[in-house]
């Protein structure tokens, strides 16, 4: 068993599942989306990115790219939430929530690509 593969797979899949959990539900219903879940998704996604640093293989490069995309999307989502809740007078209304959730939807797609690549590589390299 390859220990690196376990850690690697764990974080990549966890990033996807958390992201999916946050995304699930009506897009503008605050009861369906929790800030802590978004924060956790971002944190795990960042860890998954850091694990991929330094991998010079071709697959490693693509995995890093998709991870960075997910990070970017989630960070913007978190920033929008924080700004709406604390800085602006509007608060987290259903409009704002809709854009936050749609941003996390983008991240979800990037995470899906990550997992697909991981699966493809596992099938291709059987050692």
């Amino acid at each position: 068993m390859n220990f690196e593969k376990v850690v690697f797979g764990f974080f990549i899949v966890l990033a996807l599942t958390l992201n999916f959990g946050f995304f699930l539900g009506d897009i503008d219903n605050p009861d369906h989306h929790h800030a802590i879940e978004l924060g956790a998704a971002l944190a795990v996604s960042l860890i998954a990115t850091i694990i991929k640093f330094g991998d010079r293989s071709q697959m490693g490069a693509v995995l890093l790219a998709t991870s960075l995309v997910a990070d970017l999307q989630l960070m913007v989502a978190v920033f929008v939430w924080a700004y709406a809740a604390n800085v602006s007078d509007v608060g987290v209304t259903s409009d704002v929530l809709a854009s936050i959730v749609s941003l996390s939807g983008g991240a979800l797609l990037a995470n899906l690509v990550s997992v697909t690549l991981l699966v493809a590589e596992t099938i291709m390299i059987r050692r």
Binding site: N2, F3, E4, K5, V7, F8, I50, I51, K52, F53, G54, D55, R56, S57, Q58, G60, M124, I125, R126, R127
Partner: protein, 568 residues
């Protein structure tokens, strides 16, 4: 590019001068003619209006956009300038069109385009002079191995038909005299063209090939030249100034026939190595011992006769030329196409026949007549026209000497795998057991199809794995490279390492335990899939090291650091 501008300017000089004169005089005149505006006041057209009017008039576009209706004086003036303007305009247009269809101008355009496309080639390429059957085969083979080509061909029709062929349409090609130094310059001899690998001269004309070879050796002495030459004189001439490979198809065939007579296994193995990848492998063939009949001792036959004598094989000659017959006592005068001549040469007791006249139909007829008289004959035939492939196949010939195929295979082998001649030389000088060993190994993995050959130089990015392994305190052996790096266990790739070159050291069929070093050149024969796997393993930073150490290597930076800590 300069040629195009210069030629256009020279041709367009007179029409442009005429047009400008007529146009400017008309405009100037029109501004002087008095007119009336909508309210009936005196009014003259300004320069903008009048030049606009003359332009739409001369081009016969004729929008009705006139600021005010013309007076009679203006109408009269326009009536006068109308025809000169239209004529001057048509004159210019006509000259431009005739320039565009002018063959000289088109040739200049084609050359500029060719030169531009050659310069833009981003992969390595050969200059191929002559795009007949042989050229076509060679270029196809080059493309298969990822090498491009810039083509020069005498016959314009061939270049035109090439543009319609999907395989070749993207290649730069030019119709013109292949011996023209300027064309060769454009095709790749010029110093500033970086990717040119060499020149291949394979026109039908020995003299043209010779000229190409000399030109190329004078302009770029370091560039390899591979040329076809069919007469002994041309071969010697080319060799005298350092042509890297001269291919004389009949001599090659005769030499290989000689090899088949004295060492069938060597013959078979070297035939496999120079076959076009993916074609069916030749099966073992054993020319019988005994007396042969040789029909025709011209360019082909005389070379065969020399080799038959060398192999101490008795033979009877049949030829139509009385002087050739007189030179060889015991020969028979005739074509060999009739049963009578063949019987005279005692075909019933012969073991083999070589139909080597210069005419395909004669050769086919010899083969068929001879087989009718003695069905056990081993038949060798010379084929000149590539369109007759099926006929020769159907005739029951054991071995066909196809000129274009021989040339194409030899040139391709040398052009794409420079180490191959070295290996084949070694093969021919070894005893049969070396050839037999290689034959068994190849047979086991090829599955009846001719092998691909590839060379890998472990330098630059291709040596990363070796460096990584050294830092892990282990070395990559040849068997790691020939194992499938994507699976664990002993999954061997279908390939054989023929040659390992390290400086001046050459190892033939090196052992799997041989440790690889940076700078090694390796030549492999095997299935194309094995090559892809090998390149994948070399590109992956950790694949070969994992193979060599027997445990998967961490890929990410953090995991690497952790692994190092645990190890220490």
């Amino acid at each position: 590019m300069n040629d195009i501008i210069w030629l256009t300017m020279r041709r367009m000089r007179t029409p442009l001068v005429v047009m400008i004169l007529v146009y400017s005089l008309s405009v100037f005149g029109l501004t002087l003619i008095p007119g009336l505006d909508a309210d009936g006041n005196a009014f003259r057209l300004n320069f903008l209006d009048s030049s606009y009017f003359v332009a739409i008039m001369a081009t016969t576009i004729g929008f009705g956009e006139i600021p005010t209706a013309f007076t009679d004086a203006q109408r009269l003036y326009v009536y006068l300038i109308l025809f000169p303007n239209v004529v001057a305009w048509l004159y210019s247009i006509g000259t431009i069109i005739s320039l565009l269809v002018d063959p000289q101008f088109r040739a200049v355009l084609a050359r500029a385009r060719f030169s531009r496309r050659v310069r833009r080639l981003s992969s390595d390429f050969y200059v191929v002079c002559g795009f007949g059957n042989t050229g076509r085969m060679i270029v196809k083979g080059l493309l298969k191995r990822g090498i491009s080509a810039a083509i020069l061909e005498e016959n314009e029709a061939i270049i035109h038909s090439m543009a319609l062929d999907d395989d070749f349409a993207h290649l730069p090609a030019l119709a013109g005299d292949v011996t023209d130094r300027r064309l060769l310059d454009m095709a790749g001899l010029a110093d500033e063209i970086p990717h040119c690998l060499g020149v291949i001269a394979i026109t039908n004309d020995d003299h043209a090939n010779l000229t190409v070879a000399i030109t190329s050796k004078l302009l770029r002495p370091k560039l390899p030249v591979l040329a076809r030459a069919e007469t002994r004189r041309a071969v010697d001439n080319m060799a005298s100034f350092g042509t890297d490979l001269t291919v004389d198809p009949y001599t090659i065939f005769a030499e290989r026939f000689h090899l088949a007579l004295i060492a069938p296994v060597k013959y078979l193995v070297q035939d496999w190595l120079i076959s076009v990848p993916g074609t069916d492998l030749r099966t073992e063939m054993d020319p019988p011992d005994g007396r042969w009949i040789l029909c025709g001792v011209g360019r082909f036959g005389s070379r065969m006769a020399v080799k038959l004598e060398e192999a101490r094989v008795p033979f009877t000659v049949i030829d139509v030329h009385p002087d050739r017959v007189a030179q060889r006592p015991g020969s028979v005068l005739g074509r060999g196409t009739e049963a009578k001549t063949l019987l005279e040469a005692d075909v019933k007791t012969a073991v083999g026949i070589i139909a080597g006249t210069g005419d395909d139909v004669d050769n086919l007829s010899i083969v068929m007549t001879a087989l009718e008289l003695n069905p056990k004959l081993f038949v060798v035939a010379r084929q000149e026209n590539p369109l007759n492939d099926e006929l020769f196949e159907a005739s029951g010939t054991d071995l066909v000497a196809r000129r274009s195929l021989i040339v194409a295979r030899r040139i391709l082998a040398v052009a794409t795998t420079p180490l191959l001649p070295v290996f084949i030389d070694h093969l021919l000088n070894q005893d049969e057991s070396f050839a037999r060993r290689l034959k068994h190994r190849l047979e086991a993995l090829l599955g009846g199809h001719a092998p691909s050959l590839w060379t890998i130089r472990l330098a630059g990015p291709w040596a990363n794995s070796i460096k990584a392994a050294a830092s892990e305190g282990t070395a990559i052996q040849l068997r790691h490279l020939t194992a499938n790096a994507r699976t664990s266990g002993d999954d061997e790739l279908p390939c054989v390492c023929l040659l390992l070159e390290r400086g001046s050291l050459r190892l033939f069929l090196p052992d799997g335990k041989e440790k690889l070093q940076e700078g090694d050149r390796l030549m492999f024969a095997g299935r194309g899939a094995a090559r892809n796997e090998m390149l994948f393993a070399l590109q992956e930073p950790t694949a070969l090291v994992s193979c060599a150490t027997g445990r998967p290597q961490p890929r990410g930076a953090i995991m690497r650091r952790l692994a190092r800590k645990r190890a220490s």
